[in-house]
């Protein structure tokens, strides 16, 4: 009896999963470009739904809004990818380690249709909770060479905060071994290469750059500053002193300048003058970080923020329609995906559309803010021992190096592609405007910030330091401990992650 119920459940679930999978995949290509946003926004989800099987269809969606330009130049991203062939002697199984299915979906949409038919691609997903993804990589990568061909990890993805850890070790391969040339990577943002370069050897590449901006509510700007024009607002926010003055004004009008404690963290931590850890493994606290501490404490005590923490529910709620928070520091993905999604009254899952009129969509704008910064970013690398180096190289070339793909991909996803000339084209395009930002061309802003990004202060300890620093000072902002105790707690926590560090 129980078996039969289980069987029935299994059967129905299989059906459901076949029917249901298209509904979750449409997020990436829904936002539109040019003024003609609404028509393409409505079409895109349907077309790109079952990405792997319908490569031809997804082209239609993006052609509509860009009629004015030369048609040959504007192929759909998926059509920019050349068919990939399997080099002699390479394995038929490609294993890719990732921590979520973001890139898996992009792979399925753009690359999978062009993969050699006899190659099986396995995504090994390990969530990054409590460091599980990295722990898994740390276990598997060093012994990758001794595994059987089909068991080997061939490529894996990693994020900015722990990029150095993998590229600095010998578990990653030189991209030249994979078939990438200097010419292939010449248009990439230098910082995306620097972070993956060890002793002059480039070991990983990225398809995106992640410059950050300050996104604000136009309504709030009008009320507080009398204008919502990005240039005028920028003039009022161009340094931290001015920023604070506006925060005080905002308070008078019943607004919070920022949502929580960590909002401005990256704006400070990206502008440090020394790395987290020096060559003798001493942890050093940069003045910029203490400036963040002092500013946030002041904002908290003065009531300029809502005392939320990054990613918590209250923080997200502050981004939804009707909330009295002036703005958020967010980078590329944050503005185009997270904030745009949160601004809706009827979310996409319930049939809402990313269009003006739905909640506060279209009622936001962005400016540079008091300092330039970046946030996030994902890179890919080949694992030492892979039996598919050329295949991995081909995927990297198609996804990260091809200028046509970069441009088409950027337009389809509103992501900021890692290709300087192509992004310049978009930034200079007078016809381009983001519907979410009320017609503002955010690429123009991103372009100027992206130029200034530097990751030369990176260490393998950054993730632990950043996370624990923010965590430890939450108690200080909450008024539970004094600054010294918070600092001591930070030292303790960071030593739990890296016992080799030297702390005062």
């Amino acid at each position: 009896m129980k078996k039969r119920i289980l069987a029935a459940l299994l059967a129905s679930a299989t059906l459901i999963s076949m029917a249901g999978c298209s509904s979750t995949q449409s997020t990436s290509s829904t936002t539109s470009s040019a003024g003609d946003g609404q028509s393409s926004a409505t079409e895109a989800p349907a077309n790109s739904g079952d990405a792997t099987e319908a490569p031809a269809e997804s082209g239609d969606a993006t052609e509509a809004p860009t009629e004015s330009e030369a048609p040959g130049e504007d192929k759909a991203a998926v059509d920019c990818v050349d068919d990939i062939t399997l080099a002699d002697g390479e394995g038929k199984v490609l294993n890719i380690a990732v921590w979520n299915d973001d890139w898996k979906k992009q792979f399925e949409q753009y690359i999978a249709p062009h993969m050699p038919k006899d190659v099986t691609v396995n995504f090994r997903i390990t969530e990054n909770k409590e460091n599980a993804y990295q722990n898994k990589l740390d276990n598997d990568l060093p012994e990758n060479e001794s595994k059987s061909a089909d068991e080997k990890i061939d490529m894996f993805l990693f994020e900015a905060d722990y990029a150095t850890k993998y590229v600095a070790s010998d578990v990653t391969l030189d991209v030249k071994e994979l078939g990438l040339t200097d010419d292939d990577v010449k248009d990439m943002y230098q910082y995306t290469k620097d972070v993956c370069t060890v002793d002059g050897v480039l070991k990983g590449v990225s398809w995106q750059a992640t410059p950050g901006l300050f996104a604000y509510r136009r309504e709030a700007a009008k009320e507080i500053l009398g204008t919502d024009d990005p240039d005028a607002v920028q003039a009022e926010l161009s340094d931290w002193t001015k920023f604070e003055a506006v925060a005080a004004k905002a308070k008078e009008k019943g607004y919070k300048m920022l949502s929580g404690y960590d909002d401005s963290y990256r704006v400070f931590s990206n502008n440090v003058s020394k790395p987290w850890v020096d060559e003798n493994k001493n942890v050093q606290i940069d003045d910029q970080l203490m400036a963040w501490v002092d500013q946030t404490k002041k904002y908290t005590d003065e009531g300029y923020n809502n005392k939320t923490s990054l990613w918590d529910d209250a923080w997200t709620k502050d981004q939804t329609p009707g909330q009295k928070v002036f703005g958020f520091f967010y980078s590329t993905w944050g503005i185009n995906f997270t904030l745009a999604g949160n601004s809706l009254k009827t979310p996409e899952k319930e049939g809402g559309k990313l269009e003006v009129g739905n909640g506060e969509y279209g009622q936001w704008a962005a400016c540079y803010g008091p300092a330039s910064y970046f946030w996030g970013g994902t890179w890919m690398a080949a694992a030492k021992g892979t039996d598919n180096p050329k295949l991995v190289g081909s995927i990297m070339k198609a996804f990260c190096c091809d200028p046509d793909f970069a441009k088409a991909f950027a337009k389809e996803t509103q992501d900021y592609a890692n290709n300087v000339p192509m992004m310049k084209e978009l930034a200079d395009d007078p016809d381009y405007g983001s519907t979410f930002l009320g017609g503002q061309n955010h690429y123009a802003l991103f372009f100027n910030v992206a130029d200034k990004i530097s990751m030369d202060k990176c260490t393998i300890y950054d993730q632990a330091c950043n996370e624990q620093f923010q965590g430890a000072f939450k108690d200080y902002f909450d008024g539970k401990v004094d600054k010294d105790t918070a600092l001591a707690n930070f030292y303790t926590k960071v030593k739990e992650k890296h016992p080799d560090l030297v702390t005062p």
């Binding site: 979750t24 973001d102 809706l344 979310p347």
Partner: protein, 303 residues
Amino acid sequence: MSKDYKTIEHSSALQRSGGDPDMKAGPGLLIHRIVCYVVLTFFSLLCLFFFYILIINATRAHYDIMRGFSFFPGGSFGTNFMSAVSNDTIPILNGMLNSLIVAGLSGLLSVYFSAMTAYAIHVYDFKGKNFIFNFILIIMTIPTQISALGLFTMCSDWGLRDTYIPLIIPAIAAPTVFFFMIQYMKSSLPLDIIEAARIDGSGEFRTFNTIVLPILKPALAVQMIFSFVSAWNNFFVPSLIIDTSTKKTLPLMIAQLRSADFLKFDYGQVYMFIFLAIIPVMIVYFCLSKFIIAGVAVGGVKE
């Protein structure tokens, strides 16, 4: 045992209606009863409240849940159900099956073998028996997490990582079950029965399986529930051992869902997942709960 108990209950109830001083205070007893019902109802509602919230949240969409709390169901049950069962990176049905295998087997093994060990101590006289008894009591004081690290290394060395062996087999040595069983045997397993079986020519092993186990049934059922539930909800050890997504048990999957990237995070789906994950363990619980209702008597004074 339960029969004896009922007859006693019956006879004493009869007796009491006459001479008990408390009984004469009729209103006192009534008030006492009312207090009991009120308190019990309050706590039962409190218990059910959490299930209620869980189910309500499973019917609400992510953004609704984010925006605030509600005591009334939303309209997204279908959507949430779809997204929970069709998530191909976190296959819930696989998870249920895996959890059933792990929890079911470890429940059975721990109950059977710990009862067997308790039986050995209770029935037989042998050298070192007291030592072993005390030793098992000391084992009881070792938190599982203490040996987890060593277990992890050992499993890596022996190629047991990513298998169910380290999740299931250790259940055989369950000192808490052992202890409960030995207490139960003391009150409910007359040695004469074993003696009689021996005279009938039954082997020791057969006696245990066919005569002793049925007598122990109520205690086995209660401990089975406890072991099953704790294995079903276990997170710490599986999180160290299991890597492959199709081998993951439900708590690991829930952790994975909860840690989903911000963009992917969907409360509706998470609550639906939790709701679905509770259903099998509820079914098991309701199947065995008659033993909880009837009650199991352990220890105490015998005549």
